[in-house]
Amino acid sequence: MKRYAYYPGCSTESTAIGLGLSIKAVAGPLGIELEELEDWTCCGSVQYGSLDELEAILVATRNLALAEKKGLDLVTPCSSCFITLTSAGLQLRKNHLLMSQVNEALAVANLEYHGNVPVRHLTEVLASDVTTEVIASNVKYRLNGLKVAPYYGCQLVRPDYGFDDPDFPRSLDRLVESLGAEAIPFPLKSRCCGGTLVIPEEDMALGLIRKLLDNALENGAQCITTPCPLCQINLDAYQSRVNNKFKTHYNLPVLFITQLIGLALGIDAVSLGLNTNIVSPGRVLDDILGAGQEASHGA
């Protein structure tokens, strides 16, 4: 069992509950132990930094300090948390005055931070630590024939924190392929979904979401998979809004990568939170899993 400090991020308890549930369901079978930080608080995301750049670093660092006590790599499944926590760590390492001020503030809560926490995205841990070979060897139902558009979004790969190509990443493709599914070519795989501006600037965001859905369908996708909670809600929950606005008929399920892995590992849909997806993945997956099970039994 590889052990990690785990920072779930706020959305895994709410808007991306399917992500939170499916991570808990697949971690054990894949041989990783995620020790959730006790008492963790929101990382602040881009929003906090846009109102107060420096204070935002403090609120992010509270979580880094909690992780440093554990002495483990800090893993988060949320792309926004990933860059917020990583960037806070990098800035502190460069700015000694800020580091001492942050530590002075952390001290009121009996915390301190020395700059020694590697922040890692769950996708990287799955691809590099767990490895696709181990995932493939644990697969019970190969997702043969399932055409999946691997959607990375922006903040998993940009700004470049070095684990995959920022223009044309491959790690999620490899994860999809390790399940027996087909990762279709998806040229827009790391283009923006509209992010949080979907609330205040909905029209603009719907245009971006439509481009992504269109590009995925044009390349033959039966479903989309993503590791990012924000991307998932935009593509999933706003799909009907896109259809309303553009008079289109998209009905493309959007699964978290951990949900897709869970299915291939033979974990039941409810444990993976699949009933919380808005565009129902049922029909597409029934076909594939039905066939997969038969094949497995036959073999």
Binding site: T15, A16, T41, C42, G49, E53, P159, C192, E201
Partner: protein, 180 residues
């Protein structure tokens, strides 16, 4: 301190003087069409010393933090981080931003997180619509309802005990910075 120096001193503004105005940032930006001053132009305005125009502009509030500009910039200017820095400056000096509701949702986000320790989406969104335009909320209601029905929009916030220590730290941090 001139405006360009003020911006260059922020995280995100470091390399603005190296910009050669090639426009690859604006060309790459998915929301440039919505911006009064897209990234290249905002750098030109900063260097022209136009503080009020820049900080009261809604342009950087349209930034999606997709970092395409940052990836492609040939001069290592980091326009996405520059946008964060400019928003932070605009907030510090209480500029009134016209033409976007993004600042309102950001404020809702931060107050939700400070109050609860973690963000409570429903509370955040309700607060946002109450402070901006409650009628728009009706349009989005079907989306919210679907989320609610699928357990993705909890009614009550998950108040973490960490919120108290977070609030104490923030208070202390403001004192420290105030004294500097």
């Amino acid at each position: 301190m001139s405006f360009v120096e003020e911006v260059a001193a922020t995280h995100g503004g470091e390399n603005i003087c190296a910009c050669i105005q090639c426009g690859i940032c604006t060309g790459s930006c998915p929301t440039a069409g919505e911006m009064e001053y897209p990234p290249r132009k905002i750098i030109a305005l900063i260097r022209a010393g136009m503080r009020g125009e820049v900080l009261s502009s809604s342009s950087m509030w349209h930034c999606l933090s997709c970092y395409m500009c940052t990836l492609r910039c040939p001069r290592d200017v980091r326009p996405a981080e520059l946008a964060h820095a400019l928003k932070s400056l605009a907030s510090r000096y209480n500029y009134r931003i016209k033409g976007t509701r993004a600042p309102a949702i950001y404020h809702s986000f931060v107050s939700s997180m400070i109050n609860n320790g973690r963000v409570h989406e429903l509370g955040m969104i309700l607060r946002y619509y109450l402070t901006t335009n409650p009628l728009v909320a009706l349009k989005i209601f079907p989306v919210g309802l679907k989320l609610l029905l699928r357990r993705r929009m909890p009614l009550r916030p998950h108040k973490t005990s960490g919120r108290r220590s977070l609030a104490r730290m923030v208070k202390k941090f403001r004192e420290i910075r105030g004294s500097h």
